[in-house]
């Protein structure tokens, strides 16, 4: 490594050192409702599905009703590899939703947790209104402290897995989930989202 660094240093001896460009100007943050609408549109464009529920209770009922007879794995179960392989549906928390692209951001603590939204054929993310951010720069701004602090494993997921490697024909799924749903827990007017206390369970 030291030799490599030396070669790099030698190569750059006397080089002009252009400055870092400034950050792009950010548009003013849109309203919550606009973010929601934008996220939903982008998610659906990426072949994801959008659901809402008033609280976590209702969310569970909705998911169970959507996938009757399927083995549904919840993130708090701390599922093992065997569960992951047998489950039909994996339900994970979302940390952030990126409105511009319909992207779900999730940081995992363990290898198994990272596979909850990968192995089961259906991946569901539960999110709350305050998880909505307008765009990727904002999402990265919020993510950065976790990664600066130490080990962290984050995925940014946009729609179900896909491939276009054969004749550019878009095919869903590829190796990951064939379906991706985002279920938003709606905050009551002006209030905090229900289930707040269970966050990042």
């Amino acid at each position: 490594m030291d030799r490599l660094l030396r070669r790099v240093r030698d190569a750059l001896r006397g080089a002009a050192r252009p400055e870092r460009p400034g950050a792009p100007e950010r548009p003013p943050p849109p309203s919550r409702a606009a973010l929601r609408a934008a996220f939903r549109e982008a998610l659906e464009r990426a072949a994801g599905r959008w659901l809402t529920a008033r609280d976590e209770e209702e969310a569970r009922r909705r998911i169970e009703a959507e996938f009757p007879g399927e083995r549904i794995l919840w993130w708090e179960e701390d599922p093992g590899e065997r569960d992951l392989r047998e489950a039909g549906v994996g339900v994970d928390r979302a940390d952030l939703l990126v409105a511009e692209t319909g992207t779900v951001v999730r940081t995992h603590a363990t290898r198994e947790a990272a596979r909850l939204s990968l192995l089961p054929p259906v991946s569901v993310f539960l999110a709350r209104e305050e998880d909505l951010v307008p765009d990727l720069p904002e999402a990265l701004r919020r993510l950065a402290p976790r990664h600066r602090a130490g080990r962290a494993h984050t995925v940014l997921v946009t729609g179900p897995s896909r491939t276009a490697d054969i004749e550019k024909e878009l095919v869903i799924p590829a190796h990951g989930p064939r379906e991706l749903l985002v279920l938003l827990l709606e905050a009551p007017e002006g209030g905090r989202a229900p289930g707040e206390e269970r966050r990042r369970g």
Binding site: M1, R3, L4, L5, R7, V8, D10, A11, L12, A15, A16, R17, P18, E19, P21, P24, A42, R45, A46, V98, E100, T101, G102, T103, T110, R111, R115, L118, L136, P137, L140, R141, L143, A144, H147, G150, R151, A152, H153, V155, L156, V157, T158, G159, P160, S161, R162, T163, A164, D165, I166, E167, K168, E169, V171, P173, A174, H175, G176, P177
Partner: protein, 463 residues
Amino acid sequence: MGRASPFRRRARRALGNPVLARNVLRATDTSLAHRREVVAERPDWEDLRERAAALRRHTLARLDRYLREFAENARARGVQVHAARDARAAARLVSELARRKGATRILKAKSMATEEIELNAALARRGFRPLETDLGEYIVQLAGERPSHLTAPALHRSAEEIRDLFLREGVIREGTALPRDRRALARRLSLSARETLRSRLLEADLGVTGANFLVAETGTVVLVENEGNIRFTTTTPPVVVAVAGIDKVIPRLADLGILLPLLTRSATGQRAAAGVSLLSGGPGERHVVLLDNGRTRMLADPEDREILACIRCGACLNTCPVYRSVGGHAYGWIYPGPIGALLAPLLRGRGEDWELPFASTLCGACAEICPVKIPLHEHLLRLRARAARAGRRGIGERIGFRAFRFLAGREDRFRLAARLARRMEGPLLRLGLLAAWTAAREAPRMARPAFHEMRGDHGPAAS
């Protein structure tokens, strides 16, 4: 004309394959159309390009600092960071690791760096056969080929060819009813690969990936994908190694806010890739191999350094009229198209690689599309001059241009030469000596008189 050059020979072979010609053109057209659509949505596109270009140039000019920062931060997160001076050293590092771990099952994510170091061949010499998990890469692996595009390795193959390949290799069982319609077939084949590979994605000893970016401030390996195969490759095996060129380093996580949208929109015309993994350390044992392999040499030249700004989106291939006609294999190395015609001579530098800067019309479409604003055609021209200076173009060409300069240096000499050429034109054509032009085109005939020979109403005398 003498013996045709390696590029010309390979290009001829490609041009003689109508299936390939059709596939390449159709695939690149599709990518360009998708790109156009999503670029149009971003009114700040040009601003993003400017910033990305400035950011990349800034980073490369301070790569010593950022590279050290990356290594320190990755190590702080438990990652073992290795440096490899050349392809052989890098391949040895990875295959040594495989041997040490007794890794019989190796998953591989699509990566140009591992292609560059010919990792699969190195692993094969030690008896390892890794599984290429990206569908396109899997197809070229089965076919015993190399990728023909930076982001779509099998784009030169038709669905029918892939069907035959899958049948031959047992990916699909003989006798399976398959749709005839091309699009339905493509779909069916893609899904069958998913089924066949599934079990192998669930058990593995070692994962090998590349990296789209390495973030200095957090020691993060950034991987961009669509299929989910990279997430398997980085979470199934207990040990994962990422091989990445030192040019992949970016200063901060926030810089992804500029680079990721440029990359995915330019590469596949997607607003965002289906999966982006930010891996700052484990879970599990993590290695990063930082690959030099000619990059510090490029870094030392301020002009060559700019070429290292490339983020391997492949857009310059899609828009290049030459690439669109002959595909990637004609270039003779794993980096094709305009960027390949620069990287091959500068990184690998074989005699035949120095022909690639001449395999271009210098039309400039590449520079126009490049998300990090590398003036590719200007670099191609610059490398032509370097090749000429180094005498790589042959003594005949050098004398020829010197003679041309002598003739065109005075009008009387030039007129004399032009008249002679005009006299010879007929016989040369009749003897078929202008075949390089006339094999596919009618030759233009020289004007009698030429403009400057006119003395009269519209000629020089009337001025």
